[in-house]
């Protein structure tokens, strides 16, 4: 693990050697930690290496304006590293596009995940209709701003299914049925891929507990098929010994 001085020196060196034209990192603006895009050596001072931001920086790698700046450097935590590894695995990124500058981890997710585990167990103990009521109450407030989708690095489809209307897969209107379908769709597309960074839940202006869905699915996927394989996506693989018990 490099010290802050070492990380800064590395970035300055990369700029001087003209190996990169941009660094994506976090900055601290009046107490708020948020992404920053440094294009000049003199702005390297802005970077805050405590990495306590709640966003996932890898989400910027899907934007056309950012892709034009490849190769670029990114100050990463295990969160961003996992996302970048997944993007490379899924052929969205080449290894040489992003130079990783590893930082110290300061984001403490343990407490937050424990609370979620307790909540997931609580929900499993409920009856079906009680669970439906729980999600109804939450999805009632969804305004379909798609902040969850935009802040997630793994939602990189150029044409999201939710935006198509010929045919209409998911109704665009922010009514309960459409919200349910949208969130179900997104949760399913994250199954086995979600790295549990929490950027989606943090971005949601209606405070919907999206991480409960994603973590629940990751648990099931891990229990059924093992931990995520760096070479393959779990749901595009199979084994003769997969669970067959629920087939009639």
């Amino acid at each position: 693990m490099k010290t802050i001085e070492q990380q800064k020196a590395e970035i300055v060196h990369l700029f001087e050697q003209k190996k990169i034209s941009m660094v994506v990192a976090f900055e601290n603006y009046r107490g708020i930690v948020r992404p920053v895009f440094v294009k000049d050596i003199k702005d390297v001072e802005k970077i805050s290496f405590d990495m306590s931001g709640k966003q996932n920086l890898a989400t910027y790698l899907k934007r056309a304006e950012i892709k034009k700046q490849f190769p670029l450097a990114m100050v990463v935590r295990p969160t961003e590293k996992s996302s970048i590894a997944l993007l490379i695995k899924e052929n969205q990124l080449k290894v040489e596009d992003v130079l990783l500058i590893e930082s110290m981890v300061s984001q403490d997710q343990i407490e937050w995940k424990k609370a979620q585990d307790i909540e997931i167990d609580r929900l499993w103990k409920m009856s079906f209709s009680e669970r439906m009521d729980f999600w109804k109450k939450n999805f009632q407030n969804c305004i379909r701003c798609y902040a969850c989708r935009q802040s997630c690095p793994h939602c990189y489809c150029q044409y999201c299914k939710a935006d198509k209307n010929q045919p209409t897969w998911v109704e665009r209107s922010a009514h309960l049925q459409g919200n349910f379908s949208w969130n179900f769709l997104r949760a399913f597309h994250q199954a086995g891929r979600c790295i549990e960074c929490g950027a989606c839940e943090n971005a949601c202006p209606a405070n919907i507990p999206l991480m409960l869905l994603n973590r629940m699915q990751n648990k099931i996927t891990a229990e059924s098929f093992g931990e995520s394989d760096p070479k393959k996506y779990l749901l595009s693989d199979w084994s003769k010994d997969d669970d067959n018990s629920f087939f009639l």
């Binding site: 603006y29 305004i143 379909r144 971005a203 202006p205």
Partner: protein, 341 residues
């Protein structure tokens, strides 16, 4: 047009009784004064919902459909809804966005709701982080933004400023609970001054003159500054959906076999698909262009068209943005150039 306001006092318990009476009569009382989320306290959704049915249709034969409703009622609606506890900025936003729906072909969905609703604001105790209402809302409009303005007189009663006669008709005999007291004008003036001039906890160091800002954005149409400023933007719709003056919408037909509904849904200029043409060309392909559009619309185009700034300084776009995009910060960065205008 001078608006003569009248001032009253009412006990909190009398108000509760009045609300109960109105509910009994079948009217709706919406109380926003509790601890709702930042997003839920905006009353935009009460006049312009996130999704709204425009009409129903049923295809009965080739090329023939039954449509319901097929006429849009122009009659002025009687008041049947009372919103209690809105913010001054949100109440003022209804006036800002009114011309879009009220002029030209009248949007009955919005106007009918506005005519049928009385908005009662509660003066904020203090500014929240990123509030800059005083920079945008003219001081005179502050006082008469809502139909009624409430502020605490003491633990058990409200001081009320009434800017028109709508409440008198609505409450009927119940209005007798409001005890007229024109000495309260001083209290309101004082509290409004205090709120208006109060420090924003974030200490905004600079806010441009609106005329200069308008000229600056127009002059820099082709500049790179919007790309740089909006790098953080991830293109979600949070700022536009939580903004009390944003009003763009999309009309969609959603159907099940031969029955369907035409709906009016919120839409956002921040989405990459917002300006996608059927040909595949997208004139606002990059987020910087979309950001420029947002600023232009709010501070320039709307002013030219309706003589109002399409912003009320509520600060939600800054507080709720998941990526840290901050309009005030942008203006501060451009300060030197703006001041030169």
């Amino acid at each position: 047009m001078t608006i003569t306001a009248s001032f009253y006092k009412i006990t909190k318990s009398s108000l509760a009784t009045l609300f109960a009476e109105q509910k009994q009569k079948g009217n709706t009382i919406i109380d926003l004064s509790g601890n709702g989320s930042d997003l839920s306290k905006s009353c935009k959704a009460l006049f312009f919902p996130a999704t709204e049915k425009v009409l129903e249709y049923k295809i009965v034969d080739k090329g023939v459909a039954e449509v319901k409703p097929d006429n849009f009622n122009d009659e002025t609606k009687a008041v049947n809804r009372f919103i209690f506890g809105a913010n001054i900025c949100d109440a003022y936003a209804l006036k800002v966005v009114g011309p879009v729906f009220g002029e030209g072909p009248v949007d009955r969905f919005f106007i009918n709701k506005r005519e049928a609703t009385i908005v009662a604001a509660i003066l904020c105790d203090n500014k929240k982080n990123a509030c800059f209402c005083d920079q945008i809302i003219p001081r005179s409009d502050y006082s008469n933004a809502a139909d009624l303005v409430f502020t605490e007189f003491d633990e058990n009663s409200w001081a009320v400023r009434s800017n028109n006669n709508r409440s008198i008709d609505f409450f009927g005999n119940g209005f007798l609970h409001f005890i007229e007291d024109n000495t309260l004008k001083e209290l309101f003036d004082k509290k409004e001054e205090k709120l208006f001039n109060s420090e924003n906890p974030e200490e905004i160091n600079y806010f441009p003159k609106l005329e200069a800002l308008k000229k600056f954005i127009e002059k820099n149409f082709n500049s790179e500054i919007f790309n740089d400023a909006s790098m953080n933007c991830i293109g979600c719709a949070t700022c536009t959906y939580s903004c009390p003056t944003c009003h763009c919408f999309d009309i969609v037909d959603e159907k099940k076999y031969y029955n369907g509904e035409r709906r009016k849904n919120w839409d956002s200029c921040a989405f990459s698909l917002f300006t996608l043409h059927a040909s595949g060309h997208n004139p606002r392909e990059y987020q910087g262009q979309r950001w420029r559009q947002r600023l232009l619309h709010k501070f320039s185009i709307y002013k030219d068209r309706f003589d109002k700034i399409a912003c009320v300084g509520c600060g939600r776009c800054i507080r709720l943005c998941p990526a840290g995009v901050n309009m005030l910060e942008m203006f501060e960065k451009w300060k030197i150039s703006i001041d030169h205008m």
